[in-house]
């Protein structure tokens, strides 16, 4: 039998926090995308933990769908990054201030 769920939930909270700090602090758009992936993985770990604790397969089904949505998000996001790089030759979020008022 595995550890109690509290340890897994705490680890997921730590992982989510590190991803959130990275998303808030880093400037490179690609690294910000990777931090979003960290946060999605923390949520996935929470879902799997509750799936085990509750004896319910639905948590794992949700993780399955989260994986698909994450893949689609990465594909579209990296397409946007490539398109922006073609026009402005940068992947830094601070350089994209055209819409700044």
């Amino acid at each position: 039998m595995s550890l109690g769920g509290g340890w897994y939930l705490a680890l997921a909270a730590v992982l989510f926090s590190i991803g959130a700090i990275g998303l808030l602090v880093r400037r490179n758009v690609l690294v910000m995308f990777m931090c979003i992936e960290l946060m999605l993985n923390a949520a996935n770990l929470t879902f799997v933990t509750f799936s085990r604790l509750l004896g319910d397969i639905a948590g794992q089904v949700v993780v399955f769908f989260v994986l698909v949505v994450a893949a689609a998000e990465v594909v579209v996001g990296l397409g946007i990054v490539v398109a922006i790089f073609r026009r402005r030759d940068t992947t830094t979020a601070d350089d994209l201030h055209v819409l700044k008022g």
Binding site: M1, L9, D56
Partner: protein
């Protein structure tokens, strides 16, 4: 009913597995945030994803662990690395500079407050649940993990599964539309970048951070990124 969040008599190998996986996950996540090179960040992300896959196995989500390794570490991270190499941004960036004053302490404080709340909820709360194992009521939960997951996806969550298929088609079409090179009449509004049409993009991957003033001696180049990089220099200089 067993306590929801209490200890459930873990064995020593379980504890060791969890400790090692947790260390791998946290070290990888910190590496993603603190590494200066985006390639190193992607490799640290692989480390974290493997740790999460181990914890999936530990919690008897075998199929999801395999999918985690195949899809995340095998496809998504490779896509990240492909884009990093394609754009030519695989160089060290300066992360000591803080463009927005006070942003990092504010981010740390806000995230610390949120994390403390989450940890408090995880350890100190006494959650109660009404029904234990709702989906297993009709005998759905027989068989292996893959059988359970497949039965659930193709019966209970069939419409969500179909919507997922539509989402993937939309994502593929959107990625093609976003990343394709504009041609024909669409290239007219892209005319501010004259040599964009006849030069491959990786050749202009000089970089914009290390000063566009370096490109000024190359007077023959209409735009500075060609002169700023070392690769494009010889063919436009003379």
């Amino acid at each position: 009913m067993p306590p929801l969040l209490g200890a459930v008599h873990p064995t020593i190998p379980d504890v060791i597995t969890f400790a090692i996986s947790a260390a791998i996950i946290v070290v990888g996540a910190v590496g993603v945030v603190t590494s200066r090179n985006p390639v190193h960040a992607a490799l640290s992300l692989v480390m974290t994803l493997f740790g999460v896959a181990v914890l999936f196995v530990e919690q008897r989500a075998d199929f999801l662990a395999a999918v985690q390794v195949i899809v995340y570490a095998g496809a998504i991270v490779v896509l990240f690395l492909f884009v990093i190499m394609f754009l030519g941004v695989d160089r060290r960036e300066n992360i000591e500079a803080e463009p927005l004053r006070g942003q990092r302490p504010l981010a740390l404080v806000l995230v610390a407050i949120t994390l403390l709340g989450g940890l408090l909820l995880a350890f100190a709360s006494h959650l109660t649940i009404g029904a234990h194992g709702v989906a297993c009521g009709a005998g759905v939960c027989r068989g292996s993990n893959v059988a359970q997951l497949g039965r659930s996806v193709f019966t209970t969550y069939l419409y969500a599964f179909e919507a997922t298929a539509a989402l993937l088609v939309v994502a593929v079409v959107g990625a093609v539309v976003l990343a394709r090179r504009p041609s024909g009449p669409a290239a007219a509004d892209d005319a501010d970048d004259p040599d964009d049409a006849d030069e491959p993009v990786p050749a202009v991957a000089g970089g914009s951070h290390d000063g566009s003033a370096d490109g000024s001696p190359d007077a023959g180049a209409p735009v500075d990124p060609v002169g700023a990089g070392g690769r494009g220099g010889p063919e436009v200089g003379p």
